[in-house]
């Protein structure tokens, strides 16, 4: 049991327990989402922490378990996308036919691939072959299950643009996945 001197804005023990449980239940999912958007562990770690601190300051949003998890996904997406914008890495409003330079999967995963299942490694490769904007739109729509209109609002582009990102992402993912089947 602990007590605090005044003035203070400390959560009660029950609130702190609720906060801790909320963090434990959602930490991996939020980290995975952000990691897929920003593409590296260090940034994903910082942004995951920022996401939870922002979210936990809005205690009213934590009452409904399912809704709060969904809301947390939006906070996480916005945090990651704001970060990318600040770093000027990506402009979600542009559609161009030129592919962005792809990350070199071998650079980060040369050793890892020996340790993981072939299928999982190949799915990773399929995702990494997408541009940042395609991958972000795909993750928000197909993993976070946000409607396309909401994905557009988060990415700050029109619904038509976001549909184009989503379509490109799905067809590219499918094409790369099919290449593997044909190679086998």
């Amino acid at each position: 049991m602990s007590t605090s001197s005044v003035p203070n804005s400390s959560p009660s023990a029950a609130e702190r327990e609720l906060q801790d449980r909320f963090v434990r239940e959602n930490l991996r999912r939020v980290f995975a989402l952000i990691y897929r958007i920003v593409g590296n562990v260090a940034d994903a770690q910082d942004l995951t922490q920022d996401t939870f601190i922002k979210a936990l300051q809005r205690k009213d949003q934590l009452k409904d378990g399912d809704k709060s998890a969904q809301w947390l996904g939006r906070v996480a997406s916005n945090t990651a996308i704001d970060f990318l914008r600040r770093k000027a890495r990506v402009n979600f409003t542009e559609i161009d036919s030129l592919p962005e330079p792809l990350p070199d999967p071998s650079e980060r995963r040369a050793d890892e691939e020996m340790l993981r299942a072939e299928e999982a490694a190949y799915l990773d490769h399929c995702l990494e072959a997408l541009s940042v904007r395609e991958r972000t739109a795909l993750v928000l729509r197909d993993v976070e299950d946000l409607p396309a209109s909401e994905v557009a609002a988060i990415l700050g582009c029109s619904p038509a643009t976001v549909r184009s990102h989503i379509a490109n992402a799905r067809t590219k993912f499918r094409a790369i996945y099919e290449q593997r089947k044909e190679a086998q």
Partner: protein, 204 residues
């Protein structure tokens, strides 16, 4: 019959086509098994994407358990810092300073401060007399024979005539917490830098 093109199939797989295009695609899919099969493949891909995102791989040198524990601790720390800043009537610099100082930097700076202060007072003068001659306690708790106490200068403990103190260097403590299981903690906010120093002593 003209089949749906690849983009239409991809979007139709989750109902993402808009307006008339959506109606036309649904009608077409009612009659065209070829396109229905292609839609089914895209739906399988959506499951693949979900599993790929959920089963992310960290670099080999990293373990999820350790990363999780570190993030969990930093989130708790970040929330505490926010609370301390609110109590001190300041807007928290944590988010604003994101570019300037990472979480790891902040945590490391806090740990280093604590180590330096602890080292000085364990060997420094006056440690034994602190509790008897210091200013009035703001927070105090007794655990067995040990008295833990916090005042504007920091936190300390005394056990049968000997003691130690963690003194706030940059600013007077603005917030105290005592725990009945035997710990006292003082938090101070540096008015210039906004940096928060948390000093804590506890009995094991």
């Amino acid at each position: 019959m003209k089949h749906l093109d690849e983009s239409q199939i991809a979007l139709a797989s989750r109902g993402d086509l808009s307006g008339f295009a959506n109606l036309r695609a649904r009608l077409h899919l009612t009659f065209c098994k070829t396109c229905r099969d292609r839609v089914a493949e895209y739906r399988q891909d959506q499951q693949r994407v979900k599993s790929a995102v959920a089963a992310f791989e960290l670099p080999r040198s990293m373990k999820w358990d350790e990363l999780e524990a570190e993030m969990f601790g930093n989130i708790r720390l970040g929330l505490e810092v926010e609370e301390i800043h609110r109590d001190a009537g300041q807007v928290s610099p944590v988010v604003v300073q994101h570019e300037a100082m990472s979480w790891r930097g902040l945590a490391a700076a806090g740990a280093m401060t604590a180590i330096v202060i602890t080292g000085w007072f364990l060997t420094g003068p006056g440690a034994q007399s602190y509790l008897r001659h210091g200013p009035s306690a703001i927070a105090q708790v007794r655990s067995g024979a040990v008295v833990l106490r916090g005042d504007e200068h920091g936190v300390g403990l005394e056990n049968r005539g000997t003691g130690l103190m963690l003194r706030n260097v940059s600013a007077p403590a603005g917030r105290f917490e005592v725990s009945l299981d035997g710990s006292v903690r003082a938090s101070a906010v540096d008015q210039d830098s906004g940096q928060v120093t948390v000093s804590q002593v506890y009995v094991e």
